[in-house]
Symmetry: C2
Subunit: 176 residues, 2 copies
Amino acid sequence: MSLPHAILTALLEKPSSGLGLTRRFDKSIGYFWSATHQQIYRELAKLEQSGFIRPLPQQPSRGRKREYEVLPAGRAELTDWVGRTEDPRAVRDPLLLRMRAAAVVGTQDLGAELERHLHLHRDQLVKYLSIEERDFSSPDLSAESRLQHLVLRAGIDLERYWIAWITEALREFPER
Amino acid sequence: MSLPHAILTALLEKPSSGLGLTRRFDKSIGYFWSATHQQIYRELAKLEQSGFIRPLPQQPSRGRKREYEVLPAGRAELTDWVGRTEDPRAVRDPLLLRMRAAAVVGTQDLGAELERHLHLHRDQLVKYLSIEERDFSSPDLSAESRLQHLVLRAGIDLERYWIAWITEALREFPER
DNA sequence: ATTTACATGTAAGGGGTTACATGATTTG
DNA sequence: CAAATCATGTAACCCCTTACATGTAAAT
């Protein structure tokens, strides 16, 4: 139940339209909370109906841009949510499941798939590192920036985790 | 779309009933693919209808144990699936989202929540390590065991990843 | 006999994915 | 004015979550 809060956060950082949000989810927010444009439009309608956001004054019609801003009630909801507790989600990782299945029925072309994933994670790591260098390389930053940097660090370390694990896993596939 | 394959893997390792599977998902398989008993019973019905599994000969009735075994078609489906490709899932992590939201609306009691998660991850790590010691400490293991060990290693390293990240994050909350 | 644990389900609702539909604006 | 792009949606389906329902077997 976090998509509305992801959208509220994004809109507080900068008022946007549905497509604008979609692009920002593809770029930065989606690195820890992904969403498609269909989800976003549906959620924007709900948030407006709940009185958490409102469209900026523009004549509305289908196919025209509609930008939203967060209302005080929306900020209050987000603030409240930040203070709530929520257990970590249970893991559901298809690659690990595949590995366990391979232990039973044999490692088909799993080595090739592992290498493919290795490249994907390396590419993502490079992207994150360039963002880090661009946005967080100056010596002292605001508290807000430091928190954002921490989140990016989580992404960086997660890619490194996968790269290390897949590299170790590939040692089980010497035929490649 | 991996729950059926998780169940096929579990049933190949050992024929089980719905409740038996539920317990094994809570214990070991659920460490990388979680599922509730409602999901499992529904999926078992589907897998039986598809001709991938069949109940062991026992008189069936509501409330009585029904154990299943995998048919050749089920094994073929699982083997095929292991050889398919599938991109890594997009990340969706509420704690990271919370951190990013906190950068905007302020860090409510997020420090306490971080410490709570830190303890949860430490506990999980201890569990994993005791399983590793119990099942994978002998010097040379079969290929099957090595793959299972690899999957457990992924779980262990993931917990260490979170422990390291949260520890770093807590430095942003010196008031605690 | 009654309670407790075991075991299998049903139902409702939410959220995510995929495919498709349609209107508005810009560009050649 | 035709095509491409921008922008907002609709619809169907699947999976997961939560709460609840019901039957069987074992324990006291």
